[in-house]
């Protein structure tokens, strides 16, 4: 139902197919993807059991504090991290900034995050992600937004949460909203789907597909404000299939222990005794912000 555009064909070998792009997201399920700003942090992330790292110059906490325009990271820093770890390396491009995405693809990053954490470059259009061989992850606050991103070629959806706050409340809202809207479609009569697609501002074929399967056609991960093992256990139980942790690890008192604890809590999210054990004596989590006091709401970026 979704147009599959093949970006390369050599003999019978096919790269960049939807299966191959979504497949890497499948491999990351049940894991933790950690924001890192240098090779030392990337090494700590891999040592702690991260399934991938997100290479960026400033974690969301610092972007929020420093203000100004946040852009794609320096390729040098991304390459240094690629040379340090064996796990996938992701990087962020600004919303709509396809030239940044082209650069990231030329650097062989494994996943591109078209991210609201950076300052948007286009106030109407997101990147045409079908035009790329490298897969994309995009944020969403509700099902309509998720389906618009999938129709543009995103192969993984994550909640936006409110990045850099250390406050999980927005991520919980987004996950609950997306899953409620999926359940609504799954129980709807076929004749209701036209109107529901209009309300969601989402393509009808995708709406019909979800009505039938009861799930997104790509993995749904959680991002934004996760800062403790308990936060990870919470969002996994709410239906997230993996977690992105941004500022929560390297802004905590003991990043090495926090990283490992969040990894174990993500695997054993259904076993409260293990989550309790890894949460014990961790030191302080990042300080965080009450969302209502924020001047900039990153989750509102994206259309």
């Amino acid at each position: 139902m979704i147009p599959v555009r093949l970006s390369a064909m050599t003999n019978s070998t096919q790269t960049g197919s939807t299966l191959v792009k979504r497949g890497l997201a499948d491999m990351l399920r049940g894991g933790v993807i950690m924001d890192v700003v240098n090779p030392e942090q990337a090494k700590i992330a891999e040592d702690s059991g991260a399934v991938a790292v997100m290479a960026l110059e400033r974690v969301p906490f610092d972007i929020r504090r420093d203000g100004g325009v946040a852009r794609m990271s320096d390729p040098k820093m991304i390459q240094e991290i690629q040379a340090t770890v064996t796990i996938p390396v992701m990087a962020k491009a600004r919303i709509g900034h396809f030239a940044e995405a082209q650069i990231l693809q030329s650097l062989d990053v494994d996943y591109i995050d078209e991210s609201e954490v950076l300052t948007p470059a286009d106030e109407a259009n997101h990147i045409d992600k079908w035009a790329f061989t490298v897969p994309f992850v995009c944020g969403a606050t509700n099902l309509g937004e998720a389906l618009r991103r999938i129709s543009e070629g995103a192969c993984m959806i994550r909640s936006k949460g409110e990045a850099g706050t250390g406050n999980v409340v927005e991520a919980v809202r987004h996950l609950r909203t997306i899953n409620q809207q999926i359940r609504r479609l799954h129980t709807a009569d076929a004749s209701e789907l036209f109107s529901l697609a209009k309300d969601l501002q989402a393509p009808l074929p995708l709406v019909q597909e979800i009505a039938e399967t009861g799930q997104l056609p790509v993995p749904l991960f959680c991002a934004g404000g996760i800062s403790t093992p308990a936060d990870a256990a919470l969002v996994l139980q709410l239906g997230a299939q993996a977690v992105f942790v941004g500022s929560g690890i390297f802004k905590s008192q003991d990043p090495i222990r926090m990283a490992s604890a969040i990894v174990e809590a993500t695997t054993h999210y259904q076993d409260a005794s293990i989550v309790a054990k890894v949460s014990t004596g961790l030191g302080e989590a990042m300080k965080g912000w009450e969302t209502a006091t924020l001047e900039t709401r990153l989750a509102e970026r994206g259309w």
């Binding site: 019978s12 497949g23 890497l24 049940g30 059991g49 991938a52 062989d108 897969p135």
Partner: protein, 191 residues
């Protein structure tokens, strides 16, 4: 009813589970030592081998699984699962451990990063033509004489992509990402 575990620390557990269940196999998700009770075999899924190696230790699964594997327990490892089974890892982390049971050398990400991930048709011995999905796949660089090569791929040289050594099956691609159950079926039928 056949009862098979899927190592469920991280990775594409759901796809393996669905494929096994479609073959009328009872599936147990293995996260803790007691999950290994009364299994006839286990699947090591795709995912990140460094993350799984870390979690195998913290979840206290490394020792009991080692003992089972030595005693002849059937294991099918796909992609990261193949790396966990192999006895030599090239281009991995210096400190990366594996069960070392399958006598092959694998090169991590031997076919390149994600941009080079691909689908291709391969000929599998005893199964026939099979649509294989390779994602940041390990490349098998060497096999022992005792290891049976069931499929190869000629890509910058000819390399095995599906091997068997007694009860251990190692696959550098992802049969679980397709709807073709023949490789899982061959594994189950070998018990």
């Amino acid at each position: 009813m056949t009862r098979v575990g899927v190592l469920a620390l991280q990775g594409d557990v759901r796809e393996h589970q669905a494929m096994l269940e479609s073959l009328d196999v009872e599936v147990v998700r293995v996260k803790r030592p007691h999950d290994l009770d009364d299994l006839q075999g286990i699947v090591f899924p795709g995912g990140e081998s460094t993350a799984m190696a870390h979690l195998l230790k913290s979840s206290e699964l490394r020792e009991p699984l080692s003992e089972l594997i030595v005693s002849g327990f059937p294991v099918l490892g796909t992609c990261a699962g193949l790396i966990l089974l192999s006895n030599e890892i090239l281009d991995g982390r210096a400190d990366q451990w594996s069960f070392g049971a399958l006598d092959v050398a694998v090169r991590r990400n031997g076919y390149g990063r994600q941009i080079a991930s691909f689908e291709v048709s391969v000929e599998v011995s005893g199964v026939g033509e099979y649509e294989a999905v390779f994602i940041r796949a390990p490349r098998i660089e060497r096999v022992a004489a005792s290891t049976t090569v069931l499929a190869t791929l000629d890509r910058e040289g000819d390399h095995p992509v599906l091997v068997r050594q007694g009860n251990l099956w190692g696959c550098s691609f992802h049969p679980e990402l397709t709807s073709d159950t023949r490789i899982h079926d061959a594994f189950i039928q070998s018990f």
